[in-house]
Symmetry: C2
Subunit: 427 residues, 2 copies
């Protein structure tokens, strides 16, 4: 085996898939499942989340401990390549979420493997894979590459520039998105890596970002890196009515999106060193909540309703006008709500120049919040809520949005379909 | 509360510690333990690793799932500041590893909190905190800042430049190191963050890096991101004789290091996209092992001894002369062995220019191996083993060392002592 032979063959997705496909029958070593389980073990005995269904997984799924998010730039001009890719991705995602390899492994070692194997032998770890379509799938630099422009949902707007945005190209945008979530970081990474490989020649990874959650005791609200409970006011995913009102796209938009949703991603760097220098009282004013209990300012219990009308003896609001919890509350946003599914991120250190006194510069934590929110319509969801928040939220002096994306999340696929099929059958 | 007041006070470590210290008695809310456990719960009922002892934790401790490594530059010229820092760090590390806050929390909210609280309510998650001393503690740019130069161990060499090194300043060196390991990534991050804060005014974080391991079933060897089992030949930490021979410093060096060890850290970026294009046979030749079983080439079982003398019918070695497993084996290195404690890392994407045909350039995975190795003496450990390996290992065309550090790991402290105390009492 000469390494240069492999290189000179210029292995591409199609020959690669063909090679792998040809090996489907050759799984006598039991290599078809990455968990190494006997085929007789029913998938339901493994910690799996169903892939096929009305909605994609990973939206109302109880949050797994780790996420790996990636967005992709399409490099092809051939609509058929995009359809092939979505078919390959759908098949592979169904296998991966069931704890299998991306494609059946071959016993023939003279070819590149159909799966990179770092998840071989691991639990599926409740893996979900959630696919999204960015604006660039429909129109890119004014060009309708795939004949889909007429079917772009009105809700899939170009996100406006918000006050304070410092978006970096390297963490923003993309034609397609994949969010993998799992209780094992290696399982999430593995999933994205296999899908990225299936995209060779059709799409390149544009940006990618890991996130994590703490092992919070069951029933408790996780704390973010600012040390506050994060999610107390979040939508209840067990309420079908709330989901229908705020999360799932319905008949108000194109039919191909019915049962889908819209994902807003924001990579929010937090000035943790700056934050740590603040008094607890100031931090609590900033959030509008007490730090340890999570209760609204002046309250005792985390789940007490926010009393936005309460005033102190001087007539000043107990929960400040620019407190984060007030600005995020449905009552402050004409009832608007989104399903937040946040993670923290920690990418070590990076240079920063703070936007506030004393304008410190230097190497500081490149860590913070990897914000994911699913919603029926971003115009009445994230954009509505964040417009005022981006201007006056006290949190803003500690939080800088450095990455961003908006993706239409098509509905789930039935077995035998592929993700987004209804869109491609329209045009 | 005026935010500018806090800033203008220029809160530093000492006033901060004083404020926190003054609140030790004020823990009536039970805020002293971050796990929220009643003080009556014995620490042994929590998943903790003892902090005090002959050796520091985190060396022979069975690997936790997550690590957060940080190195620090000392900015003070006052030896007493370094001693204070090590005392604060020791006290805080003892508390943190027991599942407590870094310092007791106060009910007084008019001060910055003594702990940033993102681990409040979490399990200690087997947290270990392992401190190290870099060459710069002893001599920095030719200056003996702290009167310690005469006590620098001969084993704490300046690491040589190895073939292929592409070290980045931002991931290399440091006067002090902290490796936090825990089964919860937020617990590991929290620990380093508290210690970094205690260092304000004395030392700044220089670089920091997260790492993770998969949830491998008990008793199995974890796979790295190349899809191979990693650690089959590693030292057995249950063998006191092996540990004494290869891991713990003894009487051969300065007395203050007896019971300590030496840590080599390498941030090794792996060209995963390139690797994924190789045939399985070539990957196996590269490692000298079969991919799925982990057995030596030609063997059946992972733990079969490597037969380095076996040849094929043409007289060529079955395990190639430049195979990784051969080069790493004790038998190839005059018996040299190190205790590897590796993690994988995944920092998304970064620009790369490959060093081999077809010289691809662009955004690729910034992911790979976060290599940690503990040893009695790096001259007869990592340096000995890596010298030839860095020149001829087939793996090198996929692996680029982009970060590096060597640290003397002092022995553990007894209750009431501080880490490194024997060194500072000498001079």
């Amino acid at each position: 085996m000469n390494i240069d032979d492999v290189k000179s063959k210029g292995i591409n997705r199609r020959t690669f898939l063909k090679a792998a496909g040809g090996a489907i029958g050759a799984t006598s070593l039991g290599l078809g499942t990455s968990n190494g389980a006997d085929a007789a073990v029913a998938p339901t005995e493994l910690p799996t989340v169903p892939f096929w269904g009305e909605h994609q997984g990973g939206i109302i799924t109880p949050s797994q401990k780790h996420t790996y998010f990636a967005s992709f730039d399409l490099t092809t001009t051939d609509r058929r390549d995009v359809i092939y890719l979505l078919k390959y991705w759908t098949d592979a995602a169904a296998r991966l979420t069931a704890g299998q390899t991306a494609e059946p492994l071959s016993v023939d070692t003279s070819k590149p493997a159909a799966d990179s194997a770092e998840a071989y032998g691991l639990s599926p770890a409740r893996l979900t894979i959630t696919f999204g379509f960015g604006p660039g799938l429909f129109i890119s630099d004014g060009v309708d590459r795939y004949g889909l422009a007429a079917h772009r949902p009105a809700a899939l707007v170009d996100l406006p520039t918000f006050n304070g945005d410092q978006l970096l190209e390297a963490h923003t945008g993309g034609d397609l998105s994949i969010q993998a979530c799992a209780d094992d970081p290696q399982v999430a990474f593995h999933a994205v890596r296999q899908l990225a490989r299936l995209a060779y020649g059709t799409a390149n990874i544009r940006w990618a970002q890991t996130g994590f959650l703490p092992d919070t005791p069951a029933g408790e609200t996780p704390r973010n890196l600012m040390g506050f409970k994060d999610g107390t006011q979040n939508l209840q995913t067990k309420s079908e009515a709330e989901l229908k009102s705020y999360v799932w796209a319905g008949n108000e938009g194109p039919k191909w999106m019915s049962g889908g949703s819209y994902l807003v991603v924001r990579r929010i760097r937090i000035a943790l060193e700056h934050w740590d220098r603040m008094t607890v009282a100031f931090q609590e004013q900033t959030f509008g909540r007490h730090k340890y209990s999570g209760a609204p300012i002046g309250g005792k219990n985390e789940f007490e309703p926010l009393n936005l009308d309460a005033v102190d003896s001087d007539g000043n609001p107990i929960i400040a006008q620019n407190a984060h919890a007030r600005l995020a509350a449905a009552a402050s946003n004409d009832g608007a709500q989104i399903l937040r599914r946040p993670y923290s991120y920690n990418d070590g250190l990076a240079f920063t120049a703070e936007r506030w006194p004393p304008w410190r510069q230097g190497m500081e934590y490149d860590a913070g919040l990897l914000f994911f929110a699913y919603q029926k319509d971003p115009r009445t969801g994230f954009i509505k809520i964040f417009e005022l928040m981006s201007q006056i939220d006290m949190l803003n002096q500690f939080a800088t949005h450095v990455g961003s994306g908006l993706f239409a999340i098509p509905p789930g696929a039935k077995r035998g379909e592929y993700i987004g099929q209804q869109l491609f059958e329209l045009a």
